[in-house]
Symmetry: C2
Subunit: 709 residues, 2 copies
Amino acid sequence: MPWFRWLTILWFAPLAMAAQTISSPNGQLTLRAYVSKGQPTYELFYGNEPVVKPSHLGLELANFPSLLTNFEVASVDSSSFDETWKPVWGEKSAIRNRYNELAVHFKERTAACRDMVVRFRLYDEGVGFRYELPRQPQLDNVIVKEERTQFAMPGNHQAYWIAGDYDTNEYDYQITRLSEIRQRMPKAVTPNATQSPIGPTAVQTALLMKTDGGLYINIHEAALVNYSAMHLVLNDTTMVFESCLTPDALGQKACIRCPFNTPWRTIMVSNDPRTLLDSKLTLNLNEPCKLEDTSWIHPVKYIGVWWEMITGKSTWSYADYQPVVLGQTNFAKLKPTGRHGADSTNVKRYIDFAARHGFSQVLVEGWNEGWEDNWRKLHNYSFTQAYPDYPLQRLQAYAQERGVKLMMHHETSSSVLNYERQLDDAYKLMNSHGIDVVKSGYVGDIFPNGGHHFDQWMVEHYLHCIKEAAKHRIMVNAHEAVRPTGLCRTYPNMIGNESARGTEFHAMEGCSPGHVAILPFTRLMGGPMDYTPGIFETDISKVNPNNKCRMRATLCNQLALYVVLYSPLQMAADLPENYEKHLDAFQFIKDVAVDWDDSHYLEAEPGEYITVARKAKGSPNWFVGCVAGLHAHMANVSLSFLEPGKKYLATIYKDGAKADIDKFTADYVIEQRTVTHRSNLRIRAVKGGGFAISIKPLERGEKVKKVKK
Amino acid sequence: MPWFRWLTILWFAPLAMAAQTISSPNGQLTLRAYVSKGQPTYELFYGNEPVVKPSHLGLELANFPSLLTNFEVASVDSSSFDETWKPVWGEKSAIRNRYNELAVHFKERTAACRDMVVRFRLYDEGVGFRYELPRQPQLDNVIVKEERTQFAMPGNHQAYWIAGDYDTNEYDYQITRLSEIRQRMPKAVTPNATQSPIGPTAVQTALLMKTDGGLYINIHEAALVNYSAMHLVLNDTTMVFESCLTPDALGQKACIRCPFNTPWRTIMVSNDPRTLLDSKLTLNLNEPCKLEDTSWIHPVKYIGVWWEMITGKSTWSYADYQPVVLGQTNFAKLKPTGRHGADSTNVKRYIDFAARHGFSQVLVEGWNEGWEDNWRKLHNYSFTQAYPDYPLQRLQAYAQERGVKLMMHHETSSSVLNYERQLDDAYKLMNSHGIDVVKSGYVGDIFPNGGHHFDQWMVEHYLHCIKEAAKHRIMVNAHEAVRPTGLCRTYPNMIGNESARGTEFHAMEGCSPGHVAILPFTRLMGGPMDYTPGIFETDISKVNPNNKCRMRATLCNQLALYVVLYSPLQMAADLPENYEKHLDAFQFIKDVAVDWDDSHYLEAEPGEYITVARKAKGSPNWFVGCVAGLHAHMANVSLSFLEPGKKYLATIYKDGAKADIDKFTADYVIEQRTVTHRSNLRIRAVKGGGFAISIKPLERGEKVKKVKK
């Protein structure tokens, strides 16, 4: 080693010894970054309380020496940032992005002398950090064998988790101590059309935890682009989580080209759970909107020909299971099932209902050729050819005359190449019919070449569709895709996702009553969910006598979800005939907004209850939703968010006296009263129940009447 | 089992005992099909001589009980067929398709009672057979674990083989006894950019063999669609070959939907090797042309900016290896290599040369953005964005003014999804510039999700490109694709393929001098090859001083290839400056036709020599080519194919007295003489040498001059 190299090392030596420290703007959080025995290390404090104990950072590489050890701190950069930006749609009309930043430049003390930067951004409610890899002789075309990011927990926290899985996140949440994950795992992995559970202590992000000291912690990621989704594997002796990326078909966890920045790894922490719900950290860590024109993007409230297939009343397919060949089979010659949901007459019934009740769109699933023979097949669906009983052109005209639009549906059954080949034509068909929202789906294993729903290439595919759709001014709501990581900031036509256990499971294996009081702390951290709420008829056998499932949620719980589960895309999922039996309660779904100027999380405890008030965008109207989860909840709702000096009419939809998720789900009370910003409402929600309130400025002389069912 | 089932079995019992026999139209070949211990079995005779000993048939399935045993013959159908069809291009203007057919209906004697039909077609020069699987309760969506088709050889034949490999067929042919394959295999597997050798006794089809009794046997397949390519694994104790399909990324060998017909398995046999070369069995087993309009399809003779990159003189990439991002990198700001082949000035030089010498197209490789950073990368190339020094629009105009077209180039580096996404735009770009031929390439491992070049999904991809290209009236010449199986009959815009060791290897590891005297017996059985012949300067160091390779072939051998290696797409592959040194010999390449009314194989012995005469389509001109392979050859060429009573001028290009593949490759003699259908020419070709003759009707009073260099 020549002498001047020694000089360099000596010069940096003091820096390598000292830990670099940075605090959040409010001083609440402190992060320390340093090298420990050659390993890049960080720790995080909430006040003086350790949130993350010393945890190592690094990347294990397949085709180069790994970036794990032999490092020193070569230099650091720190800076601050504060701006407020306006989302195209969201929970608030303006979002503040304020953080202090520390970029730590780690340098290898080996001959290769490679650089790795870790950039930390400290927000008041958490931290985001990512790896930045400059292009270097021994770091250009890199295969990541595993990311080795640790999150060392100081205690045996209570965790709200779903099983780590490379293909699905449609699991029910488990609430256990970290030490109990291993024992619970076999029960946590319930059947799914596609699944690849990772291991006995592997969990998914966003992961929520609660410490014995009353801190709420969320670990997730932001801006997942050109990389695979991260899971967490717990060492349940040391309570250290380590990242576990999703492998592709070849077992590669990521193939990257340097210079490259990984997604942000995020840790949110607060002693107030509402702070987590209110946080926009995930969105803030994503890049600003890349679409020049967003005027065509709008929230949507819709109904659809969907629940009748989920419950088994109708079929997606026109005919029964049989061999069909796209472009060759004459579907008009097949014998219909007689229960085809997308049948013209049935679709018109939905369109009429939408028009009558002010829904702007009607989703129709099973409209296109191929459902008879859609499994593990390359050419499984046409995305342009409608079934013989679905005259697209005429139905579109029928809808248009009534001020309604059709919503497109693209189920792929994970034959992704087939979808990509037709993507442009499929979007063009939508354009030619004025259809501007598509629900896409990825049921089943990735076919034909394997890989996983959350691997780098599927992550790339989902984003490819979003970008291509944007060129066609189309909004996308992808189901079974990777859970979102705030990319809707950058691409606001990403109007929704499923990526969690949704309402459909209530017509199958069911969901815990606490589920909807956990989702906002976890799944919704990354972006809106098309949860498809609003099921009024919870006895599924009344829809389909062969389906004996019962949904364990009260009708008012279903109403509350429109406010509690934020989404610019909201479905009224039940059948028109079920809504017609409860038109008074249905009124809330008709009234509730889907885009907001402001949101106030009033009460929250994961799994137990969430109460939130939101102000409709560009309107003086407010809507309040409260769900109770595993136990009944007596809500105490201060309306101090209302404009002082004004009178409002509050219409309250709440669980009735006998309401019960097992017996009387449709027992509800609707009452109206005058309220002001000084009002305080105490409302009881039963286990799996809830309430919803619409609040409108009282017109001079307007009469308040009490309505009760 | 109910009594009436027994009745059925009894009724069929006599049929199950007896072997079904069918003969070729000329009676030379006989095939017997029967059930042996429950296993479908066939054997093939040439006269009384067994060609294939009793060999089992069947399919091993992954998701259903296999179709291997417990069979009986339930019924048989036999029929005859005879028609003559006209190919869009080819070795002959009319092809006779005459066979006797036997469809043997095998039925399981199990509870499942499944059906499997094997359809045999006996031609005079060989047999084709395939499996036909009707849709049945236990046979609908099938994963083939392995096809178990046997080809039991009665002796330890001499074989002309290349190593079985799932990703490449760019190997040099080996000539050994079957028993010696295992020992030779390590030498047979030479390096390639992508390769997956199958095993110590695995070889590729088309496989050529020669028996001690003087029979020539070829095993291959026809009409490879919706299935993976077949290889052969030899049991070198019993001399039984068994089929080995190419697995996909998940190890699946084929995913099929019943009803399904496999590709045809073909066995050609004759005591005259010329019969094999002359056979159109592979084409005949393919379906008739599916393109309604073929008026736009035409043969092409072309030059190209290619050899200078292959030899290392120039670069495909505009700039050196560095990170580039399509759509973001400004290539004009990169530092050029200074050796970019597709540079405008250089391309114009080629266009000028093409115009001067009557070539209709100029291929330009390395014209498009991305070559700097093209390896193991999803978004590696743009197929629409040209490099800054390649003004496509202007060059196209420049070419058009000179009566020349540009030929498109699409290297994918096996990032297939990237290609498919751009395919439509890429073809549209070609359309908008009047470019109607594309050479595509699949160098390297299939990226990102693995699988193999010859698996079911890549086979599907290549055909997808052919079909999409046809919609754009574009002809395709795919390199590194699966070896062809006669599909050019069905899709005649499939104008060429590489799929074997081509000329390029002469600038790398080299080829055996016998190579080009084997290719017509093997690789060319399935369709034309873009072999890119015509290298005049065999000392590669004169092109690029850093490349010390020498091509071991005489100049006349290179001329002969234009006739011997049939292709409707022929390149003059050398640099213009090398042709300008031998304009007299170059005249043959300028003159030779690329489409034919008729072809006569005059002499043939695999690896040793092939002499063929062809009549240019719609012209009285004939061209003769002869290559000598491993040894010198004294050809005895009877011109009896000429029209009696007519005089012709024959221009003969033959190896000179000192011609030698190691020292004097460019020693050649050109002479002219008057010939008639009674003429007999004795011409000597050195090892790796050859000769070429152009024969034109003699104009009244035309003078014959002897030209000698």
